[in-house]
């Protein structure tokens, strides 16, 4: 092991193993996760190529192979629990995305949610076994998050009892669905249902797209890959154009809405339940964001402990770059953020399961808040992590730019999270809608509960800007609870400002919708402040639950750093409304520097606790043993680009350049 990393690990103030248990939820979870990971690491079938050296079509091929073996291996190892499946897939697929992923994440769940028993009998088992491969075709070339704008039509023909599917315009071509380009032979297609001359809005249809046996597109279907992307190289995101394509009536998912053989439309009873999948995926994405940032931090911090550069004092040996205040200031707040989001992710998962039980018993009361919270937190965490991964990459200097660092891959595969499953700005505005509703509710005299209950205090406070004295508390910058309170006040204030500006615009513009657009910057700010408060709150509530004192102490410092760094970044908000004074802001800045120094000796142990296998990190810079440079050299030599000593283009171009000029 590299000397620097050895020293770092020996000097840590706590045992990272104990922190790993906290992150996994229990020592038992850690044990079982490692057990599953070891199954994979020891199995020669799972040996995989370095994806960085493969072309797009080679990467696709490897990914398909992995999906094919996954099905068999999971059956063989008896892995069926959702968490265990996730651990298994995470390590097995490494940083690959699965061309058949949408079969599991969208096709099957939609079939389960919206399909009748007969439909499930027909397609469920075979799709679970990958005997048919389904995808989910919603977005179109010209239409995204706004579902009602979709143009694809499904017109019912009672003569033949079929639906006729059409993509009437270029903008209506289905675009982006994963696995559609090359892999899938079925798609659930969302289309505007037209029957008896009337349009009934969007409904889901099961559409065969490729012929069994030849895998060729069926007549009336134009399907293909949408071309190269920023990342997701191994994923065949596709397009789908349908031209008077007929499917039987039974292929419309009819658990809720129905079309009778004669073309009569039967309305669904309630639509709220379809929320469930969306809420689940978004809350899952929060955990994914945490995981990606944790990886990036692991790489950047280990590398910063190995890399030596320049001098702090002349004549002394070059210090580890992690000893520079600027490097600590770049990385430690991100490390604190990674931990914050880990705990938020765990909270979201628990909450989802709890509320899901309530829903099962017919209690939908908590769903609106959960929906608003997942939308906002998905946006808040993915925006933050997007910037943070890139900051980690930059913190590795030039080498961060090489694919050997692993960071470019983490970034390009993470960044779509900001746009898929609901574009972030749209998500923030959904949360804002809930906040505005809650605000109005409070003003009409009704109390609100849950994470927005702070709004209940607003009418009594009658906050005046610049009047520090009206605030009930003086912020103690060493207390996570007190800092939570400060964020709570900021959120309350920003929600109130957005609400008041919205009201003023409504009066001025005479149109609620125009007013909403003209206040949307304020509304997004309010949502961000709300989410920031939620994260600070959840992080600080986690601290007292940690039993082990040494772990608690180091997490407490991270929690303080997360909260104080946010205050420093948004100092204007805290100053403008007198939540903090000028001298407190100065103290915050000083305290941050002290915390950087305090965290420094534990930095490597803190990333070790994330417990990523080297193969999962996919990074030469982030190797556990820290032997970075030797392995970079080896990695480069393995690149197929170095297979021949003289590149073929020498003969083709360089020689002639030299002779002709």
């Amino acid at each position: 092991m590299n000397q620097d990393l050895r020293k770092e690990r020996a000097a840590a103030s706590f045992n990272p193993e104990l922190l790993t248990h906290v992150l996994d939820g229990s020592p038992e979870n850690t044990r079982r996760r490692r057990e599953i990971e070891n199954l994979i690491l020891k199995d020669p079938d799972f040996q995989h190529e370095d994806l960085n050296f493969l072309t797009r079509s080679q990467r696709y091929e490897v990914a398909v192979r992995k999906s094919a073996t996954t099905v068999e291996k999971m059956r063989k190892f008896g892995i069926a629990d959702p968490d265990e499946i996730m651990w298994f897939k995470k390590l097995h697929l490494v940083n690959f995305v699965e061309p058949v992923g949408l079969n599991y994440s969208m096709f099957i769940p939609t079939l389960l949610n919206q399909g009748t028993t007969a439909q499930q009998e027909k397609w469920l088992l075979s799709s679970q076994r990958l005997e048919i491969i389904g995808t989910y075709a919603q977005t179109e070339l010209g239409h995204g998050t706004h579902l009602r704008g979709l143009e694809t039509t499904a017109t019912y023909d009672p003569e033949t009892q079929e639906f006729i599917l059409n993509s009437p315009t270029v903008t209506s071509i289905k675009w982006w669905p994963g696995g559609l380009g090359k892999t899938s032979n079925y798609a659930i297609v969302l289309a505007q249902l037209i029957t008896q001359g009337k349009c009934y809005g969007l409904h889901a249809f099961i559409v065969p797209i490729r012929e069994l046996g030849t895998h060729k597109p069926l007549p009336g279907i134009t399907v293909g890959d949408i071309g190269p992307k920023f990342g997701y190289d191994e994923m065949d995101n596709g397009y789908l154009k349908m031209d008077n394509y007929r499917i039987p009536r039974e292929n419309m998912l009819m658990k809720y809405a129905q079309v009778k053989p004669d073309g009569t439309y039967v309305k669904p009873v309630s639509n709220k339940l379809t929320y469930g999948t969306m809420v689940f995926i978004r809350s899952f994405l929060v955990g994914e964001a945490a995981r990606c940032l944790s990886k990036a931090c692991t790489i950047a911090i280990r590398y910063s402990a190995v890399r030596h550069q320049s001098e702090i004092k002349p004549g002394e040996p070059e210090p580890q770059i992690l000893d520079y205040q600027t490097q600590q200031y770049k990385l430690f707040p991100l490390l604190a953020t990674a931990y914050a989001f880990q705990f938020v992710g765990a909270y979201m998962k628990e909450t989802y399961h709890r509320i899901n039980k309530d829903i099962g018993q017919g209690d939908l009361s908590e769903l609106p808040e959960l929906h608003a919270l997942t939308a906002g937190l998905k946006a808040f965490t993915s925006w933050t992590v997007n910037a943070a991964i890139e900051a980690c990459r930059m913190a590795c200097g030039g080498h961060g730019y090489s694919h050997c660092s692993g960071l470019p891959n983490i970034y390009v595969n993470f960044t779509p999270t900001c746009t898929f499953e609901g574009e972030n700005t749209v998500m923030m505005l959904q949360t804002a809608r809930f906040l505005m509703k809650s605000y109005d509710q409070v003003h009409s005299g009704k109390l609100v509960c849950g994470m927005v209950s702070y709004l209940n205090d607003l009418p009594s406070q009658r906050i005046q800007p610049q009047q520090v004295a009206v605030w009930p508390t003086v912020v103690d910058i060493n207390s996570p609870d007190s800092l939570t309170e400060a964020y709570r006040l900021r959120a309350a204030r920003l929600v109130e400002i957005a609400a008041k500006n919205l009201q003023a615009e409504v009066i001025h513009r005479k149109s609620k919708e125009v007013a909403w657009n003209l206040t949307s910057i304020d509304l997004v700010r309010a949502s961000e402040a709300h989410c920031h408060y939620v994260v600070v709150k959840l992080f600080s509530e986690k601290i007292p639950q940690i039993q082990e004192k040494s772990v608690q102490a180091v997490l407490r410092n991270l929690c303080l750093l997360y909260s104080l760094y946010g205050i420093c970044q948004k100092a204007g908000d805290f100053l403008q409304w007198g939540i903090m004074t000028e001298s407190q802001v100065t103290q915050v800045n000083e305290r941050i520097k002290e915390l950087l120094t305090a965290i420094r000796p534990d930095a490597v142990a803190l990333v070790d606790a994330f417990d990523f296998q080297d193969v999962t990190l996919g990074s030469v810079l982030g190797r556990y043993d820290g032997n970075v440079y030797e392995n970079m050299f080896e990695w480069a030599k393995k690149s197929p680009l170095n297979k021949t000593e003289v590149h073929e283009s020498y003969h083709k171009h360089l020689k002639s350049l030299q002779s002709k000029l």
Binding site: R56, G231, K313, L657
Partner: protein
């Protein structure tokens, strides 16, 4: 209004018809777009020349960029090499000299997609560091590409910090040779462009050791590949460093030297010499060269970095008037996404930044060229300021351009993730500029060092260090400062003197604070170096505020010169206002901190800012048209002049190799899976 021919010449069917949603944006012209283009180009003659060069380049199929997104690294390198070869022939035929405007415009229209870029740096370095005989020997070889050069400085374990480099060149008086050697793994040269496959010679920076003494870094010409068959020479291990985020057209390489012997004459000896017996002699100072480096740095900003942000703005803003999503009013059709306030807030500040940086870099270059004569007269007093300006400008411009381009990409939603949008490659390319030519944090801190020094000097001898002697860009440090901003109404915040003053105030305060922090630590016993490291976070902040101030100031000064073009002056002033206010509103803490602005004033400034968004929105397409990028150069399915986004995206996607070639994975893995179901039927 007919669209100028040079903008649209992809030869596809859609360009004949401009999308009505983008056409309508061009109906009402509040200013003369063509005139603004000429201003940006620095004169009508330049615009004409640029377009002439573009039409030459675009009419030649070899220079087509259209398959770029489908290429492997190998193919990309080869295509770039082919283009390089082709352009050399073209330049020779048309008489375009090495530093000519024509060649510059040709590079611009090719988005720099050419191999052997570092060959030129190799030549320039020989010219500035070599003796007359050395220049006479090597320059002609370079010009005729008889040799291909690269510049090998950074090592696997060492970057910006030159003294840390480990490669050694030990003089052997017996044979009159240098023995060039990589003593460790970390000493392997790493990253130089053109080293991987192309270069025959490398200019190697190494520690000179002669007569047993270490003399620091010097440059040596080391032959690395055979001129006969291009194979690596004995003692040389050379290759490509492997895949990167972008820059596939460039073969960044590694070089390990195992006691490689080169003749004594291969050490570049304008400023230092080793005599045959091993005596080391210094010959004057390399200070004059310094200016070349400083100018190069800003040249790159203007020629490469800023255009990437401009292009990102063009693509994202054009797409945003074609893309429709949701309704603003239930009765309306779906709205153009550029009509959403949140979309304006994402994109318009980026557009303002692109313009601000254009004027910043142009004015810096002008200043540097003016300083040239005094430097030739051996007056080096301007150098520290020039250095601080170029370092800070490089850091700020590359930082903001990288973030801005990524913001533009994400503002295009899902389609921004497709390479066919052109945005991913812009983003990854501009991102590289944050670490090459000096890592940004290091550069900001160099600026900060200058600021602290100037500030302390001014404090030590107030009065005697009169404002006259304070360098121009930091003169504001001793100017009379107001403690409160006088602006009250929204309109007041659109007065350049108010927001310039606000930035001057904040920069001054931060510089003052950072100097005081430093002094306090030193008084409490820390030595200067320790104290510096303990205060770098605030130095960084101070340098950033200073750079922002310089940009705002420069932009306002550039506007003053546009008196004769009132319509253009007005529209650019809005961008300047937006740039200044955007900075204030994203850093309100700094302005509220000492009460320079009150909370109420911040609210008023925000109102002014929101009003500006609406005004600039109207001219947004025209402002992006004025950059005058051809469709070929943008190479974006989303950003074409005619706005036919969806047709182009569909058409381009169908040409992807994934659609034109077979699917071997189906036969190998999918078929067996799918057949199981069939067998059960």
């Amino acid at each position: 209004m007919g669209s100028p021919v040079h903008r649209v010449s992809l030869g596809d069917t859609w360009s004949k018809q401009v999308h009505p949603d983008i056409q309508s944006e061009r109906h009402m012209q509040s200013f003369d777009v063509e005139q603004l283009t000429k201003i940006l180009d620095g004169g009508a003659q330049n615009t004409a020349l640029r377009r002439k060069v573009e039409s030459i380049i675009h009419s030649d199929p070899v220079f087509s960029l259209k398959d770029n997104y489908f290429m492997t690294q190998n193919e990309h390198y080869e295509a770039a090499l082919k283009k390089k070869f082709h352009i050399q022939m073209l330049a020779q035929r048309l008489g375009w000299s090495e530093d000519s405007r024509e060649l510059g415009y040709a590079y611009r229209s090719l988005s720099g997609d050419l191999a052997l870029g570092v060959h030129n740096i190799f030549l320039k370095s020989i010219r500035s560091l070599g003796s007359e005989e050395q220049i006479a020997k090597w320059a002609p070889l370079c010009n005729k590409f008889q040799i291909i050069g690269t510049y090998a400085q950074t090592e696997l374990g060492h970057g910006t910090y030159l003294q840390g480099l480990e490669t050694e060149a030990t003089y052997d008086a017996a044979t009159q040779e240098f023995v060039v050697h990589s003593p460790t793994t970390t000493a392997i040269k790493w990253w130089p462009g053109g080293l991987g496959w192309s270069a025959t010679h490398a200019l190697v920076q190494a520690q000179l050791i002669c007569s047993g003494a270490r003399q620091g870094m010097h440059a040596f010409i080391v032959p690395i590949r055979s001129l006969q068959d291009h194979s690596a020479l004995p003692g040389i291990t050379v290759g490509d460093i492997g895949p990167k985020m972008e820059f596939d057209h460039m073969d960044n390489g590694f070089l390990q030297l195992d006691h490689v012997r080169i003749p004594r004459e291969n050490m570049l000896s304008r400023f230092a010499q080793v005599l045959p017996d091993g005596t080391y002699i210094k010959l004057g100072t390399a200070k004059a060269n310094y200016l070349t480096m400083v100018v190069t740095r800003v040249d790159i900003l203007l020629g490469e970095v800023i255009p990437m942000l401009e292009k990102a703005c063009v693509i994202a803003i054009r797409y945003s008037v074609v893309r429709r999503q949701f309704r603003i009013r239930p009765s309306d059709p779906e709205a153009k996404i550029l009509d959403y306030q949140t979309q304006q807030q994402k994109l318009l500040p980026q557009l303002a930044t692109a313009y601000a940086f254009h004027f910043l870099a142009s004015s810096l270059l002008e200043f540097f060229h003016r300083s040239y004569s005094s430097i030739l007269d051996k007056d080096f007093s301007l150098l520290p300021e020039l250095h601080a300006l170029s370092a800070g400008a490089k850091a700020m411009v590359t930082d903001f351009c990288a973030q801005g381009a990524e913001l533009c990409r994400r503002a295009c939603g899902g389609h921004g993730y497709s390479k066919l949008s052109g945005l991913p490659s812009l983003v990854t390319r501009v991102a590289a500029s944050c670490t090459y030519e000096g890592e940004n944090t290091v550069l900001y801190l160099q600026t900060a060092r200058f600021l602290v020094k100037i500030y302390l000097q001014a404090q030590e001898s107030p009065g005697s260090t009169s404002q006259r002697s304070l360098p121009q860009s930091v003169a504001y440090l001793t100017a009379p400062d107001q403690t409160r901003c006088p602006a009250q109404r929204a309109a007041d915040f659109l007065h350049p003197e108010h927001y310039t003053m606000a930035w001057a105030h904040v920069a001054t305060r931060l510089i003052k604070d950072s100097a005081h922090h430093l002094q306090t630590l030193m008084k409490s016993g820390a030595d200067w170096h320790e104290a510096w490291n303990q205060t770098t976070v605030i130095h960084l902040q101070a340098a950033k505020a200073h750079c922002y101030y310089v940009t705002v100031k420069t932009f306002t000064e550039a506007l003053e010169k546009l008196e004769s073009e009132p319509a253009i002056q007005q529209v650019l002033k809005r961008l300047c206002d937006l740039y200044a206010l955007h900075g204030i509103l994203t850093n309100t803490g700094d302005f509220l901190y000492d009460g320079f602005l009150s909370g109420a004033q911040i609210d008023v400034a925000r109102t002014a800012y929101l009003d500006l968004l609406i005004l600039i929105r109207k001219d947004a397409i025209l402002l992006t048209d004025a950059f005058d990028f051809t469709d070929q150069c943008l190479n974006s399915a989303l950003g074409c002049y005619d706005g036919n986004v969806y047709e182009r995206l569909f058409h381009w996607a169908q040409k992807a190799p994934t659609n034109t070639q077979g699917n071997p994975a189906y036969e190998k893995y999918l078929r067996p899976l799918l057949q199981r179901w069939r067998s059960r039927l």
